[in-house]
């Protein structure tokens, strides 16, 4: 998965649960979602790459690069030079190691850094990608401005992310479990486009991939069950309410079915 150290802020009244999330999400979230996985998997990453007009030797930035899955795929399949930036130093090290092991050390370089203060000069990248991470950034406008700053004129931004309509989300999906599924601070697809537009990034194309969200809910359920089998007691101590899980997951499935919750792909462009 991507950078999960940033804790999404819950809606008012959920401070207690947000607090639990703050204390424990770094471990529990990563285990439930897996760092190398984002909804849609590598098939969706390839679809994203198709929308970026990449060519050999172009420079691409992967924001919240996690263990490097997306960056390595782009470096290998599109023969681009990829910089990956992630908030967690351990992720940077793992991704760099994976790049070396794959013989892509020359084309994929990883750095520790903050999406809201990208450690790169202006106008150096032909493309920026950010998979399943924008929804977790507390200051999305600031992150969008950073994407725009490091992009060359005419450069493209590719995003896949959780979409949610916060006003219509059922109460089960605004608490701790929601933070785990990075639902609580996700926005509707149109709002992502607005945030990007305000930063000077014009949306060229959007696609809904809600099936990927359903698959992610299945995965969270399976991993919760795995934890229940192996470490139920400790999980309870960590503040995860296993008894509440079925209701939360059912609410999430219903929300996907009525399009309150979903997953989307978005391609935007910086003015030439």
């Amino acid at each position: 998965m991507t950078d999960r150290n940033t804790i999404p802020s819950g809606p008012p009244g959920d401070e207690l649960k947000a607090c639990c999330a703050a204390a424990y999400s770094s471990d529990v979230v990563a285990l439930l979602l897996g760092d190398s996985y984002h909804p849609g998997g590598t098939a969706l990453t390839r679809r994203l790459a198709d929308g970026l007009s990449l060519a050999e030797g172009r420079r691409v930035l992967d924001v919240a690069s996690g263990r490097g899955t997306t960056a390595l795929l782009l470096a290998d399949a599109c023969r681009v030079r990829v910089d990956g930036v992630d908030y967690a130093p351990a992720n940077t090290a793992l991704a760099q190691g994976a790049a070396q092991a794959a013989g892509l050390g020359e084309r994929a370089v990883f750095t520790t850094g903050d999406a809201e203060h990208l450690p790169y000069p202006e106008a150096v990248f032909d493309a920026v990608v950010c998979e399943c991470a924008l929804c977790t950034f507390p200051d999305k406008a600031r992150a969008a401005a950073e994407f725009a700053r490091v992009l060359k004129p005419g450069g493209r931004l590719g995003i896949t992310d959780v979409t949610a309509d916060p006003d219509r989300l059922p109460p089960e999906l605004t608490g701790l479990a929601a933070s785990i599924a990075c639902v609580a601070d996700a926005r509707p697809l149109e709002e992502y486009a607005e945030i990007l537009a305000a930063a000077g990034l014009r949306t060229l194309r959007t696609e809904r991939h809600d099936q990927a969200m359903t698959r992610m809910i299945d995965q969270i359920e399976a991993r919760l069950n795995l934890l229940r089998m192996t470490a139920a007691g400790r999980l309870a101590e960590a503040g995860v309410d296993l008894e509440a899980a079925p209701a939360v997951l059912a609410a999430a499935r219903t929300a996907v079915a009525d399009k309150t919750l979903g997953y989307a792909l978005l391609i935007a462009e910086k003015a030439a």
């Binding site: 424990y24 471990d27 990563a30 190398s36 390839r46 795929l73 351990a90 089998m229 192996t230 960590a238």
Partner: protein
């Protein structure tokens, strides 16, 4: 009336032509051209013999999966030795010939043709027969040596038959295998001797304790209805099966329940078989095999036979709380359409189980994609998954248990943020230690559609990794052995009795077949001409 004729319109074909390949004529076994077509989301193989006409069979019940599984086709591994040369081309040169694309994940030794049952369904055409054969110590050694010469360190040899437990030297044969670099022995049995002879079961249990080796039981187990037993086995074996399983549990033997599944007979019992297996202490896996329409079997409709996606769909329907579409994943070592597997982790008490299919925990398809996805960060996960999604994977073997553990542990190394998990950090959960306990809870389900003279596609045959080892030291792909005529040749040579070429008991062929002395069918014309 003088009406102008309606303009002639060109018609669309009702099928999508997807492959040109080779097969055999089910009547005379001559190699013939074949085509694979998709109609109404199903995949069919059609072929024509100059002599015997046209034949068509359903080969895969889900066209979308048939097409998309191509990317899970793992590059083959070259075996250390080939036994034959390329002369007439596939499937006439077995084998293995140098054109074969894969090594042997599993070697099968049929120790006899005799059996203590006379099942209406038996691809080996075995039974209480006066004129079969049993292999000698020397022949067994030669077969094992051929396997080792081809594999170096071999993973699994399966003793089969006939009924291998009635061969008086079967324990010696297991010893011969264990004296060689062959890690695991599988005993493929109907369980009659296991139910009656606890000394024999104890001897097997002893051999299962040999360090670095295992002996596992592959137990014929088709269901629970009396009718299922009578129609498939000719006898109600329900009490015997139960006793055999209890004896295996007593002796510490790991058992796979193997169900031959036939339309209209036991297709409704799949969920019950899985649940029974999960609840029985000796059972760690179930294998479902649509009835192989080779040898002896009940009449069938080739256009409405069971294929892997059909069996998986039935499993999902019969245990909807446990399984859903996507939980089974095709096996990359053979041709991906031949075999599908899932592993589940099971918790709770009988009647109130939590079942977690492993493919829901991680994206197996991202790790086992050999065409579009060459680079993934976790090569360790791919290696573990390759061993699990393989024809050599059997519960009870060391490799399979280790790789299950590796996969569960890989879930924990979910990157930087969770390294604390591994060391019992912030949350204090030591997952690696916790998953060590998981092996007891892991359960495997295999769905394997073997090819028969109707469905045979050399494309699949050329990458087959399940091989019959012949007494003269050849390795012949299982489906070629049963379909092309090799079984009849070997039996004739070994027993000295001429053997008729077996033809499938298919409904469209009914008036062109006659019964052989063993109960299988053969083409009428071969007898009269």
């Amino acid at each position: 009336m003088n009406q102008a004729p309606a303009p002639r319109r060109k018609q669309e074909r009702d099928e999508v032509f997807v492959e040109f390949t080779k097969s055999i004529c089910p009547m005379c076994k001559a190699p013939v051209d074949a085509q694979v077509n998709i109609r109404e989301d199903k995949v069919y193989l059609r072929k024509r013999c100059r002599e015997h006409g046209e034949f068509e069979a359903l080969v895969y019940g889900d066209a979308e999966e048939y097409v998309s599984s191509a990317r899970f086709n793992k590059p083959g591994t070259v075996p250390l030795a080939f036994q034959t040369e390329v002369r007439d081309g596939c499937p006439s040169d077995c084998g293995l010939c140098p054109e074969h694309k894969q090594h042997a994940c599993l070697g099968i030794i049929e120790v006899n043709t005799g059996c203590n049952l006379d099942c209406p369904i038996c691809f080996a055409d075995s039974g209480h027969q006066p004129d079969g054969y049993s292999i000698t110590h020397e022949q067994c050694e030669r077969m094992l040596d051929a396997f080792v010469a081809s594999e170096g360190e071999a993973e699994v040899v399966m003793f089969s038959g006939g009924e291998p437990t009635i061969h008086k030297h079967i324990l010696d044969f297991i010893d011969l295998a264990q004296a060689r670099p062959i890690e695991n022995v599988n005993l493929n049995t109907n369980g009659i001797r296991l139910a009656a002879d606890t000394n024999f079961v104890a001897e097997l249990g002893k051999r299962n304790q040999v360090p670095g080796k295992s002996v596992n039981i592959y137990l014929q187990f088709d269901g629970f209805d009396e009718r299922t037993h009578l129609e498939i086995r000719g006898r109600d074996l329900r009490t015997l099966k139960q006793r055999a399983l209890d004896n295996c549990a007593e002796a510490g033997l790991t058992v796979t329940l193997v169900a031959a599944v036939e339309r209209g007979l036991n297709e409704h019992e799949l969920g019950t078989i899985i649940e029974y297996g999960i609840d029985h202490p000796a059972v760690r896996s179930v294998a479902f095999q649509p009835v192989t329409h080779s040898g002896r079997h009940v009449p069938f409709d080739p256009l409405n036979r069971l294929t892997n996606p059909d069996v998986i769909r039935l499993i999902n329907e019969q245990r909807p709380g446990w399984f859903q579409k996507g939980d089974f994943f095709p096996v990359p070592c053979c041709f991906p359409t031949c075999r599908s597997i899932t592993y589940v982790l099971v918790d709770g008490e009988p009647g109130n189980r939590t079942v977690v299919p492993i493919p829901r925990l991680l994206n197996v398809e991202d790790h086992l994609d050999y065409v579009t996805n060459r680079v993934m960060p976790d090569t360790g996960i791919r290696e573990a998954l390759e061993k699990l999604w393989s024809a050599s994977a059997f519960m009870g073997t060391q490799t399979t248990e280790e790789k299950l553990r590796a996969t569960a542990e890989a879930l924990d190394c979910a990157g930087g943020t969770s390294h604390a998990f591994g060391s019992g950090g912030a949350c204090g959960i030591d997952l690696p230690r916790a998953v060590k306990e998981l092996n007891e809870k892991a359960f495997m389900i295999v769905v394997q559609d073997f090819q028969d003279p109707y469905t045979l596609n050399v494309k699949q045959l050329m990458k087959c990794c399940v091989e019959e080892i012949t007494p003269d030291g050849r390795l012949i792909p299982f489906c070629a052995y049963n379909s092309v005529g090799y079984r009849e040749q070997v039996r004739a040579e070994m027993s000295g009795v001429p053997i008729a070429s077996v033809a499938p008991n298919a409904l469209p062929l009914a008036d062109r077949l006659t019964t052989t002395p063993y109960g299988s069918k053969t083409a009428v014309e071969e007898e009269t001409r």
